[in-house]
Amino acid sequence: MKCPKCQAPLEAVEISSGIVVRTCTGCSGVLYEADDIAVPLRLIGPRPARFDCPRCRRPMETANAYEGQIEVDRCATCSALWFDAGEIMILRKLSGVENIAGKKGDEPSRPAAPAAPAAPLGAAPAAAPAAVPVPPLPAVKVKEGKAPVPPEMEGAQNRDAERAPTVELDGRLYRHFQSSIPVTTAVLGEFPWVAKVGDAARSRDFICPPYLLSQEVTATESVWTAGEYMEPEEVWAAFAMPGAPPAKIGVAPAQPNPWAGELPSVWRSFGVAAALCVGVFVFVEATASKAKVYEGGFEVTAADLERSRVGEVFEVKGRTSNLEVTVDTNLDQHWAYVSMALIDADTDQAFDFGRDLSYYHGVDDGESWSEGGRYETFFVPSVPAGRYYLRVEPETDAPQLSFRVIVRRDVPLKRLPLIALALLLLPAVWAGMRHDSFENTRWMESDHPRTSSDDEEDDE
């Protein structure tokens, strides 16, 4: 038989009288016959697993037990049970049974009190062994109403069972980054534990940049390691290495996002500036006079030798503001260019400007079309108060051109706040894109790469 997870050979191991299990030589997973588990397993929420039963080669299913605290893989046909490395230990703790192996109906064995060592005949009774101090469990933030449990139990509770588990520790939420089955291929150096080639464990990494948690589970233990990202320069300095460290490649799992701290501040500044622009526009729009200060008509014909005309003097009041000029013509299948001058009647200053208009229309294959327009509106900026008159000089190919000119004072430009908002938005969006690009690079190496359809939350 081969392991359904890593395809390594399964070897038969007799763990108690009459109970034979298959253990994976690669990942330490264990296959139990259906009748060889003495503890009751109330499996709920079965769903198809991604592998087949190593015994009968039929599809397996995954189900939850002990209120979702452990996932068990069971063959839908022969009911064989598959446990990944470390899950037997979790099942022992959840069930309170030390030896879960046993024929159904047998009384499961409970943990017994450790027996006192037998004293040799004639010897004085041995003194009771001194109690070994148990180190305290790390501080774990738990949900209200639940008893404190060690991290490996919290990590086993998939808060997002479909995608990625999370672990809460010391007020931080660590998100699952990747799982793997590291296998020892070579051993070099001295170790305070027994290490040999072929050792395998189930490893899971969780990150909350710049912190990370790593869990390694074997058949006999579960080890949690906490770490914190360090810059290469810090490591170089700590070991007094010569020169400079090599350049970074990619993004490390727990590497802090340099844009993470900037984005909230950038968006706050955007909000304040945008509110200011909109507020000023609303104020200016509400207080703008938009008063019509002049309206006059002009007419020229092709026979006119002199086509320039002047209008009546009109008064422009108030603070320096703009003038909205509308030219409305009777153009029809002709063009006209109207050069205009707004001349101060009291000084020698003038605003010189021009506009070209054209209007053509027709019917093509039964469909009507038109091009251009008979009227146009434009703005003369920053005109101070004073007395002005208009001088107009049209050029046209029309035999006769008549047009009206309407001038309004203090008309706020609606496009100005829009342009300001666009200018404010561009750098903020760029910073957001840099932030997302960093996160995409980080998660690209994980078990949960971000795609364009993902909508995951960013890390802090």
Binding site: W259, G261, E262, S265, V266, S269, F270, V272, A273, A274, L276, C277, V280, F281, V284, E306, S308, R309, V310, R319, T320, S321, N322, L323, S339, M340, A341, I343, D344, A345, D348, Q349, A350, F351, D352, F353, G354, F378, F379, V380, P381, S382, V383, Y389, R391, E393, E395, D410, P412, L413, L416, P417, I419, A420, L423, L424, P427, A428, A431
Partner: protein, 60 residues
Amino acid sequence: MSRWYRWYALFVAAAASWALWTGWWITPVERVAGVPKSVRDNPGSYRSHYSSYHRYSGGK
């Protein structure tokens, strides 16, 4: 970047507010000085920057 952006945002907001208040815009308008008062009675004597008189007509 946030410090740079803060000043940039303040500048854009201030510039937009000033433009809204004073009616400033990027319309191509030429400011001309030295316009004689006689133009009122003789508009043909004014030479507009935007009229065809200011375009090259081919003469030497």
